[in-house]
Symmetry: C4
Amino acid sequence: MTRETVRVEAFSDGVFAIAITLLILEIRVPHLPTEAGNAELGAALRTLWPSFLAFAGTFGSILTMWINHHGFFDLLERVDRRFLFANGFLLLLITFVPFPTALLAAYLDRPGANAASAFYCATYVGINVAYNLLWLTAARDHRLIRPGVSDKVLERIRRAYLLGFPIYVLAVVAAFWNAMLGFGICSALWIFWAGLDYRDRHAQPAAA
Amino acid sequence: MTRETVRVEAFSDGVFAIAITLLILEIRVPHLPTEAGNAELGAALRTLWPSFLAFAGTFGSILTMWINHHGFFDLLERVDRRFLFANGFLLLLITFVPFPTALLAAYLDRPGANAASAFYCATYVGINVAYNLLWLTAARDHRLIRPGVSDKVLERIRRAYLLGFPIYVLAVVAAFWNAMLGFGICSALWIFWAGLDYRDRHAQPAAA
Amino acid sequence: MTRETVRVEAFSDGVFAIAITLLILEIRVPHLPTEAGNAELGAALRTLWPSFLAFAGTFGSILTMWINHHGFFDLLERVDRRFLFANGFLLLLITFVPFPTALLAAYLDRPGANAASAFYCATYVGINVAYNLLWLTAARDHRLIRPGVSDKVLERIRRAYLLGFPIYVLAVVAAFWNAMLGFGICSALWIFWAGLDYRDRHAQPAAA
Amino acid sequence: MTRETVRVEAFSDGVFAIAITLLILEIRVPHLPTEAGNAELGAALRTLWPSFLAFAGTFGSILTMWINHHGFFDLLERVDRRFLFANGFLLLLITFVPFPTALLAAYLDRPGANAASAFYCATYVGINVAYNLLWLTAARDHRLIRPGVSDKVLERIRRAYLLGFPIYVLAVVAAFWNAMLGFGICSALWIFWAGLDYRDRHAQPAAA
């Protein structure tokens, strides 16, 4: 891995770490009248459930995206300009995530929930496109891939990334029918991504 | 220590550093009428004491958690998926901490103080559970531990983590009786955690 | 590259990564009446277009500045105090960027758009000056440049940095005539900066 | 330098970088009536001068504190628990700085300016105490200092840190007389700190 690659990875890590930590700033302390007691505060905290849910679900998603980002970088021999643009597009969307998360938290228990959830899911469609662009600029014809990485691994990753696209689009559609369902699909997918394997040695037992 | 381990530790460090620095954003500059003079501003700053107290106490707690996190990582030979989930759960709670801190600061001198303090302490119960999960996924049967780390060290850490659980639960209960007491127990414990030793060479003189 | 140089670069990277991630905090979730439905929320999101545009344009600009910053650091043998001041001045302006971005987002579709856009563009004039100061303190007479870097490379960088100055000044002027044009010039320039080459090996084919 | 020392330094760097970048969040975009034009927005931006001044002055101060922090760490052979507490106290105050900065920005052109400025300067007294504690825990009797660092260097640093204390106390007092003067003293001192030399080779020509 070149010095340049290490550096781009470190910068990306920083952006992931900051974006994931900024999520909490969107949960606001309830403003209650001065005389409000423990019961009122407890009730007010319970009404924050959409914020807690959006926070936890999105945290899991970004963390899994970071793990996948690292898995992908491990395959790289070097980076070039075209790849830097694709990676930059991914980082743009990662830093954007706190906004749809806050939107979802604010509207999940209100009439505008479908629009908020669809917007949230649409952001994930964009992120999926960015991962597919990473693959296209780096892994196609093994362009930037280090020697020794098998076709099998690259093909497995390509399929997973491609498969993600229709599922996230489905989540956008589902959000219009049921806001919670759209969010649920996006959040559930992190279990799928967490299971994606970027290493050859795991591929072999699986193929055996 | 593998490249993977170093990387997870660096990412976790970033999250700790950002979470600890975001705490200050919850202390708001007092809004006073334009003609308010030095005396009024001084008085307004004094009424911010719950914010300053919550900031300082939580800063000490997160800093000590970071020191313990590093101490634990020093024992590791490698990481695996199960450990990554446990560590991810810990990071989720660390990034969450600014919210209960802001809540405590807003309600510590008001009738809802008990609920706010109990919520704050409950977050620490969760963090303690996360540390116990780190131990279970990494240290049980020396699964991910590097050679040469003695049973004695792992056992000492296990006991400290387990002991933390009832104390933090006690803090939640105490918070319902006296808000300041709950917060005080959580904050005082960082002296206990700061004293926890992750190294063998210290264990020997202690046993001598 | 000395340990000192690596350290200054790492600190600068952190500042770039944080500034680029803070941009999103300036996009606020729309506050609508509780009964507002999907159509109203959709409409409210569409009125946020100046925020989305300012976010995306500025993200691209800061990312390209970071790439250029790294390209420049790759030429360095060491750093000295004078260079640290120039670099500190650049970081001051980079951390400042979220403010003019938020200003532009708030006023781009309102009567004050020209003033907001001119202020935004003026920040980029300042950043351009900072890059020229980096060149002057480091590259003039090869002061802090590592051996083997050709005059041709340094001269190419100098010209690009100098050329940026009148263009950004032009953007300030253009902003008073058409707010979007000023912002457009600043944002379009990142394609120019992304194409600036800091390496000798690319220079040779270009010269052949 | 031990792995532990490198790690504490990296964590501290992260806290410095985040604190310095968060400063900008305290400058708020002016809220004007929708019909406000360029002239009104220009005027509103000019009334933000205390924010810009506090931002620039504090940025320079934190950047210089970071440079000094690194200079000091370069002298270290290792760290121990006592030093970690002193360093943690310093970091607590560094993360605190955005609050007094926002306070100063909000009140510098209002009747409460003296109180705000004195509070700001008092934070710097605290930071100076923290640097003196760093010296006491690390440099006294060369406790944690690496071999080859001369008494002369340590003595020079000790004197500079000690000298800072009465000057910052003076700034607090001066702030009660003239708010701008207190802030000015604190900000001007960064030129003094930027000139403090942590290396032996510079000491010798100075002594020659």
